[in-house]
């Protein structure tokens, strides 16, 4: 599994350290660094490769030009806003995505993994193949189980099941359950007896 370096930029220590302690338990995250000023962020980005920056959207307002410059210099970094109040649409539209401070751990992980996996430099082969978890979800889906039943069986949240389903459809190009069932048979993930 590839390792990921993440920076959290927020001036509130509770948000910074709270997010860090949650992200530290994410399996494929190697290192989470927290900073409280934009200058510190700029400095870090100069010296090491990072895959994601979680940022308080108010910096988009106060450091508009600097941010634009950083984004063009580090085009492979995903910029994700941390939402804890309402920000104008035109501001958050500049980012790659948003997480909400009220997101539970599963939702947060599912969102972050989606952005981390969504790497244009990866080969199409990697993009096509399903992860072990996605294969589990697909197998149960093809056996006719609902999102809730799949969530219970795999001990994950329904939202995570939905995220896995989106990724499966994106990778295979197949959206309907009946189409995915045929796909599962072609890949020998289920036998016709299960169907």
């Amino acid at each position: 599994m590839k390792h990921t370096h993440i920076i959290i930029l927020d001036d509130a220590p509770v948000i910074r350290e709270g997010l860090k302690s949650i992200l530290d338990s994410l399996r494929n995250v190697h290192e989470v660094t927290t900073v409280s000023t934009f200058d510190e962020l700029t400095h870090l980005l100069k010296h090491k490769d990072y895959q994601m920056v979680l940022i308080n959207p108010h910096y988009l307002h106060s450091h508009q030009n600097q941010l634009q410059q950083l984004r063009s210099q580090h085009s492979n970094i995903k910029w994700i806003g941390v939402q804890y109040t309402v920000f104008p649409e035109e501001l958050i539209g500049k980012l790659d995505g948003m997480v909400d401070v009220f997101d539970n751990q599963d939702t947060l992980f599912a969102k972050l993994n989606k952005w981390l996996d969504d790497n244009p430099n990866e080969t199409s082969q990697n993009k096509e193949s399903l992860t072990a978890r996605e294969t589990d979800v697909l197998r149960l889906l093809a056996m006719g189980k609902s999102n809730k039943e799949i969530a219970d069986e795999l001990k994950i949240s329904t939202n995570t099941v939905i995220t896995h389903r989106k990724n499966i459809s994106q990778k295979t190009g197949i959206k309907s359950v009946s189409g995915l069932t045929i796909y599962a048979v072609t890949q020998n993930l289920i036998s016709l007896d299960d169907y």
Partner: protein, 241 residues
């Protein structure tokens, strides 16, 4: 500035068809048959009593041009559109889906992989779903549009549809292209080939044709007919509704 490729009232229809053969489908849905001689769009529209602006908007969709310009449409245009859509439904249900069903059956005979049985069931289920979708439009939504047109013209209509509205249709209107795209992906990427290359190619061409037409069909419904029906609904609100 007008570009050479723009469709305008003086454009010769035959020239457009040469470069965009799927326009033939559009003509069939308008119940216009070939040959079209040297007729321009204006002349064809006059001959078949079709609003030129509407005809050009549809032609642009079939020429893969994105976007629909703001159209000033009337109640009569609503009837032209529902007739066009109803004719398209017959093309799907009576021509192309039965052809696809037949090709899948032939493919199953050639290719004895166990997945082929599932493909037959998959398409049969899709055909049933899509037939229900078309029946709903033919029997409920299109007659409702006829009723809106009658209200607009102040003429009588056999039904009054007091309890129905466009918003109910919008709630009911689901995406019928998903499974076709799924089937294309299965045939192109995953289903093992066994003596069926030729049939598979024919099947993929048919699926691409119907997918292309359905995509435009949905755009016509969502971007042209629904806004027009809402406009007619608002203009002639029935008192007490």
């Amino acid at each position: 500035m007008k570009s050479k490729n723009d469709v305008h009232p003086d454009s010769k229809l035959a020239e457009i068809i040469i470069n965009h053969p799927y326009i033939i489908l559009m003509l069939e849905h308008f119940e216009i048959s070939l040959p079209v001689q040297d007729l321009s769009i204006s002349q064809i529209c006059e001959k078949y009593s079709i609003n030129k602006a509407l005809f050009i908007a549809f032609t642009n969709l079939y020429c893969n041009k994105k976007g629909i310009p703001p159209l000033k449409l009337t109640a009569d245009d609503a009837l032209t559109i529902t007739r066009f859509l109803a004719t398209s439904h017959r093309y799907y249900s009576e021509q192309i889906y039965p052809e696809i069903t037949q090709l899948i059956e032939q493919m199953s005979l050639q290719n004895n992989h166990r997945e082929m049985k599932l493909v037959s069931v998959f398409f049969a289920d899709y055909f049933k779903e899509v037939t229900a979708h078309f029946d709903y439009e033919n029997q409920i939504f299109h007659p409702y549009v006829d009723c809106l047109v009658a209200r607009d013209k102040g003429t009588a209509h056999k039904e009054n549809y007091m309890d129905y509205s466009v918003s109910q249709y919008q709630d009911h209107h689901d995406d019928i292209e998903i499974k076709l795209t799924d089937l294309k992906n299965l045939l192109i990427k995953y289903l093992p080939v066994h003596n069926d290359q030729l049939i598979r190619r024919k099947l993929l061409f048919l699926l691409s044709e119907v997918e292309f037409d359905l995509n435009i069909h949905s755009k016509i419904e969502e971007l042209i007919l629904i806004p027009l029906a809402i406009e007619l609904e608002n203009k002639n609100k029935v008192v007490g509704k």
